[in-house]
């Protein structure tokens, strides 16, 4: 594990812990956000029959860096009627919330921020911070559009947390643990052991579980999509109605924080979906490290597979965003309460029966 290694080098538990907690930020979130923004623009560009950014660097690969420099240099505009203290605090809170989620995400067999037993529940809990941050930002902006956007965001995130949690509980019932690392390990290598294909069990239970797990996956994917406010659920920041929702008034670095949090969140929910249903960091086809007998290669391969799965779901999110129109706020709520939650309940009960009886 990275922690032990850091402990050995620095000789101090605190330094090791701090370095380890900063690692995801610097080696993952920031580069990922840079990459994801570019990916988003390129994906949208090609879907819309155009090229996307082409000027900065080869095929525009440095575009995001140029944008970041622009954002840093920008004047930080604060309107006179804004509630200054909370206005400043809100982006930090939102970013802290999405960053905190990364602590429990197992990137590979050798690296997880904090291998706590509560893993998945902890991630759900810290999302509460994001909700509070969004409400705070919307209120402190002192702008009707921001406030409406914040209210919608909070209502939406809270509503969609219910189906997410129900599916999470279903998964916990099957795996018997809330630890994301253990869940990943449990799904062992090779794709037929993934939870979406019934997990590493055989017999009737596996066959019965497969359809349930596919539906569970769809439910949790849709509801996490709604939790990160992506199209078709991007009602809180629907630019054609609410300009850009709760971050209408933000500019410069504070806007960049919201932006960063949004992309970090996109990856976080993709990673959760990948971990719960697609074997987490496990390779679908076995490890090269095992074949050649090179043990240190395995964590790197695992990191590769994990990122690949996460990025795939990020790509799906972008794909949906540039294809679908957006729901209306009442339709969104109806979709959650009338379809997702009842289905999730039924699955919860069926899976309960299966795990007890078989």
């Amino acid at each position: 594990m990275i922690y032990d290694w850091l402990h050995n080098i620095t000789g101090s538990a605190i330094a090791a812990a701090i370095i380890q907690s900063l690692l995801p930020l610097f080696i993952f979130i920031l580069p990922f956000a840079l990459f994801a923004v570019l990916l988003e623009r390129k994906v949208s560009g090609h879907m819309q029959d155009r090229l996307g950014p082409m000027r900065v660097g080869y095929h525009g690969i440095l575009q995001t860096i140029a944008d970041i420099i622009k954002l840093i240099q920008k004047e930080d505009i604060v309107a006179a009627e804004n509630d200054r203290r909370f206005f400043d605090l809100s982006p930090i809170l939102v970013f802290a919330g999405s960053y905190a989620a990364f602590a429990a995400i197992p990137f590979s067999g050798a690296f997880i921020g904090s291998n706590i037993d509560l893993g998945i529940v902890y991630i759900v809990a810290v999302t509460g911070l994001v909700v509070a941050g969004i409400l705070m930002g919307g209120w402190a902006s002192n702008n009707k559009y921001s406030l409406l956007g914040a209210m919608r965001a909070a209502a939406q995130i809270i509503s969609y947390e219910i189906p997410t949690l129900l599916i999470v509980v279903t998964v916990i019932m099957i795996t018997g643990t809330m630890n994301l690392f253990t869940i990943s390990e449990w799904q062992t290598q090779y794709f037929w052991n993934w939870l979406i294909l019934g997990g590493p069990v055989f017999g009737t239970a596996k066959i019965l579980l497969i359809p349930l797990m596919v539906i569970s996956f769809l439910i949790i994917f849709l509801s996490t999509l709604a939790e990160v406010n992506r199209t078709p659920f991007d009602i809180p920041e629907a630019e054609s109605e609410l300009v850009s929702g709760y971050h209408t008034e933000y500019s410069g670095m504070k806007f960049a924080m919201f932006f960063l949090a949004e992309y970090a969140n996109m990856f976080a929910v993709s990673a959760i979906v990948a971990t719960l249903f697609f074997g987490g960091f496990q390779s679908p086809i076995g490890y090269l490290g095992n074949v050649f007998g090179v043990k240190w290669l395995i964590p790197i391969e695992q990191f590769f597979w994990f990122t690949a799965k996460g990025l795939f779901f990020v790509f799906v999110q972008m794909w949906l965003r540039w294809t679908l129109p957006r729901f209306r706020v009442d339709q969104l709520m109806a979709f959650c309460w009338k379809y997702l939650i009842p289905f999730a309940f039924v699955i919860l009960i069926l899976v309960g029966l299966i795990t007890v009886l078989l």
């Binding site: 538990a13 605190i14 009627e81 509630d83 909370f86 706590i116 037993d117 509560l118 529940v121 902890y122 759900v124 809990a125 810290v126 999302t127 509460g128 911070l129 909700v131 509070a132 409400l135 705070m136 209120w139 002192n142 009707k144 406030l147 209210m151 909070a154 209502a155 809270i158 947390e161 809330m178």
Partner: protein, 162 residues
């Protein structure tokens, strides 16, 4: 003072300070936002006590649920766009007398109690034992609570529909 202590005092400070702001702030929305930090600090202290499950539940229920509900309530019932959502202080004198009495009683209790000091146990996850207790030992109470909550839910729904 160990690292553990420093972190503990940090959380305690956050909890107390934000609780102080909650009470003294004149703007209700501000108070509600400060409550967020109080809950957060309390969750931190739960973690220090080895009750990680309770801490997480504290965050989910209080920060994710009750606080948001509170904010919604405050924002929707007042003129939302104006900042002047104020709460004044009334009956300062009787309140301070009652408060003084209570504080004195508490202080006396704290000072007169013989505290048993034990070495802090190895922190380990409490989730498994908590689950076992809920299902085995306190199964009846657990089920009863569930039924009570269900009744409350049905009642709320029927009232909302009327």
């Amino acid at each position: 003072m160990t690292t553990y202590d420093i972190i503990f005092y940090l959380f305690a400070l956050v909890t107390l300070l934000s609780a102080f702001f909650v009470v003294t702030n004149r703007n209700i929305v501000h108070s509600a936002f400060y409550l967020l930090f109080t809950f957060f600090g309390v969750a931190g202290i739960y973690v220090m006590l080895g009750a990680d499950f309770v801490a997480v539940v504290q965050l989910i229920v209080y920060v994710g649920g009750i606080l948001i509900l509170l904010l919604f309530g405050v924002m929707l019932t007042n003129k939302i766009t104006n900042v002047d959502i104020k709460s004044g202080t009334i009956h300062a004198l009787p309140a301070s007398i009652v408060l003084g009495l209570f504080a004195g009683a508490l202080a006396a209790a704290v000072l007169n109690t013989k505290w048993k000091i034990v070495a802090s146990p190895e922190t380990s996850s409490s989730t498994v034992s908590l689950g076992n207790m809920l299902i085995n030992e306190y199964a009846l109470i657990f089920e009863l609570l569930g039924i009570v909550l269900l009744i409350a839910l049905i009642g709320a729904a029927s009232m909302a529909r009327r």
